[in-house]
Symmetry: C2
Subunit: 447 residues, 2 copies
């Protein structure tokens, strides 16, 4: 078998055999096949796509390129969740305790922030003393003991994806549905859970800007999961505006606590109820409406908040900051962003919000940058709100006034205020299962 | 400027700017831009093509990546000729002396054999003592003195093409019209002649298998040449069967001598008259029919054969073998291939003929192999000839019987004998100039 023939075959629009995909992935990971041949194949895939069979095979070959985590020694059904990445998206830290409080196990590896999107691991590390680098044994033991553990990616998980992603990133071959799906699903499959809930974002702050694109991506991923016997469901959720009010690491942990105490923003709370209900449903806890009631009960009875504290404690974190958010370290500078006019906020560019938070210090401008955990944005107004001239739209937290001024310019660039009230949009656009696509109406909406 | 953006732009089907093409070529040649980004761009070009402006710009950037030969110190009009490569194609060594005998200067660099096709330089080196590695000054002096010199490629000619071709060869991106055209034309433009005649082969032994493909390639190259002020014309010639009767290095030199003495095969003679007439026409020696008469006269009066001897002498070669071909070293084994049936030869696979000659020792099986100058094939029968059972179809020359047996199997695999006489096909299919495409009828045919 020769890589040349595999490139030519895909270039000519033909379907690759399982052994050809295996040859390519194994050879690339071992270093026998070079970047320049792989980038030519990736560009051919960009143009000619991959069939469902090819995508599934690629995903499995990638998953098997490194450690496959075996969670079978942990009793019960394990449910994983993946978000395609958003701004202010702290749902993992809300829904994992919710479902764990109901006996569904979550043994999850999460990532760090990338570009304008935040990462669960960075958010967790804003809790004093909490360590997310945990060895396999301790990770398993925490899940066995409290039914829940979220840690950073450790070990040699899907090395094929690391190499392929780095190459795609410099050869303009990121934007391909099947390659995106294989990248995400290979990591979820290697992570070992029985069921996978996918939160696919749509809108200005998301990777997929259009609803149709997001649904296509969701379908592709659900098919991969089901083809390899993982129960997989996707929700298409809105990322046309930030989720909740807080963007930034400790600011988001505070919002997580509020939400688990029943005092969170309505949009965030509702989306978390839906996500948690779908995880419970995947784990066989009943139909969706029933699972929504169960999920809601974990907020009402405090069991979800307690579960979060148990996990933080197990990871060495100081749980006192969760009970009393005032104990979090404060940002040096607090800066108020005021409305320059009056009217309804018609749109708030999510990517610009995310990048503004990065400028304030909440994210990494380069891979080597360090994070200011206290930095970020709290939105005082959101899309559809009416503002008067001089009203506070947002509050910025940072280490310097200069950063605040610079972030404000970008942030305000993304805000449109008009006399007309904007149309309402659903929080959740659709639910994709192996059998069907349910699209939701505006009834399921933001306010 | 970033290579990433150039890849993405071409991937999205947009036209690259001149400075973007220059950035890519300069960066690639200097090593700042890596193979893996270039191969992704090449694959995007494979799918989305290049416009005429892009192709011309690419060609010029490639040409300028190394030495640009300045022939202006040599008086008169210099005409170059390029063949896309064939089997038994010894036309350069026939037509160059013809036009030089009429005062049109030829200062030409030629290549070696590649795969199943032979190379002019290998053929020349079958003449005892002849040296094709000649420095620039001696090359120029020979052209000034006798009006003709054909040598091997020397110096740093189009390094961009060397790097790009090697990368295309392993990434399945050879087969693109514009990249092929830029590769050929960059070398012709760097070689410095005022006029360029292109001999584009069509048929089973050619790079372009179809007539339409060959015409497209010819149009693309003619446009490039004319865009940068080189008078350029292309003939589309038949490569559905080998040219002439001899395949192999000294065997072909013998056929060159015969043809220049007026005793050559008719197909080879006629195609050489046409090619030479077009070179003369490019150099302003008159209309095509007039130039054909002039070309013919150089055979009749012996001036072309004398010009060949002058060049061979100037390059240190032993001209006695030209006057008396029996002085060429003989192959150890002479092997007769006989017809297994009776009927008309309907086809003779040119690529298989070429590869058979390579097996006999006439070409290189790997880049490092050495050539057996005496090895090769003389065809005793050609397409359209009638053969009886046991008639000699071809005579093989080699160093061993084993090689002959092995070559015979492949050779006979490419021959179809049938009771039906095949249709006649033109020797020259078409002539492509900047203004028009003239297609020729079968009147201009093989026999």
């Amino acid at each position: 078998m020769r890589m040349f023939d595999i490139i030519a075959k895909k270039r000519d629009g033909k379907e690759l055999l399982a052994e050809e995909i295996k040859f390519f992935i194994d050879g690339y990971v071992s270093g026998e096949i070079k970047d320049y041949q792989v980038s030519a194949l990736l560009m051919a895939i960009y143009f000619n796509g991959l069939s469902e069979a090819e995508t599934t095979e690629l995903t499995m070959c990638m998953a098997k390129s490194g450690d496959m985590i075996d969670l079978s020694t942990i009793p019960g059904i394990k449910v994983d969740k993946h978000s395609t990445g958003g701004v202010g998206d702290k749902t993992t830290l809300i829904i994992s305790p919710m479902v764990a409080a109901l006996g569904v196990h979550v043994a999850k590896m999460s990532g760090r922030g990338l570009g304008h999107t935040g990462g669960t691991i960075d958010k967790m590390e804003s809790i004093p003393n909490l360590k997310t680098a945990v060895d396999r044994e301790k990770f398993f033991n925490i899940v066995r003991k409290i039914g829940l553990c979220v840690i950073g990616q450790s070990g040699n998980i899907v090395p094929a994806d690391k190499k392929l992603y780095a190459l795609r990133d410099v050869t303009a071959t990121i934007d391909n549905m099947q390659l995106i799906a294989a990248s995400i699903m290979s990591k979820k499959i290697a992570a070992g859970s029985d069921c996978i809930l996918l939160d696919v974002k749509a809108g200005s702050g998301a990777f997929m800007k259009t609803l149709d694109g997001s649904i296509e991506l969701a379908k592709t991923m659900v098919k991969i999961g089901e083809n390899v016997d993982r129960k997989t469901v996707a929700l298409i959720t809105d990322m046309d505006r930030p989720l909740g009010l807080a963007i930034g690491n400790s600011l988001e942990i505070m919002e997580v606590c509020k939400t688990l105490k029943g005092e969170g923003p309505e949009d965030l709370t509702e989306i978390c109820i839906s996500l948690a209900a779908n995880m419970l449903n995947l784990a066989g806890k009943g139909e969706i409406p029933e699972c929504e009631m169960l999920a809601r009960s974990t907020i009402e009875d405090g069991s979800a908040f307690n579960k979060l504290k148990e996990m933080v404690n197990a990871l060495g974190g100081d749980t006192r900051v969760l009970d009393n958010n005032d104990l979090f370290e404060k940002a040096k500078v607090k800066y108020v962003v005021k409305s320059p006019s009056e009217g309804y906020i018609n749109s708030m560019d999510t990517e610009k919000c995310g990048t503004s938070a990065v400028i304030l210090g909440a994210g990494r401008e380069t891979k080597e940058s360090s994070i200011d955990f206290s930095a970020g944005i709290v939105l005082n107004k959101k899309v559809s709100d009416y503002v008067n001239l001089g009203d506070t739209i947002a509050t910025f937290y940072s280490s310097s006034l200069e950063k605040c001024k610079s972030a404000e310019r970008l942030f305000m660039n993304g805000i449109i205020i008009s006399p007309v009230m904007p149309q309402e949009e659903p929080l959740i656009y659709a639910r994709v299962t192996k059998d069907k696509i349910e699209k939701y109406e505006v009834a399921n909406c933001r306010r």
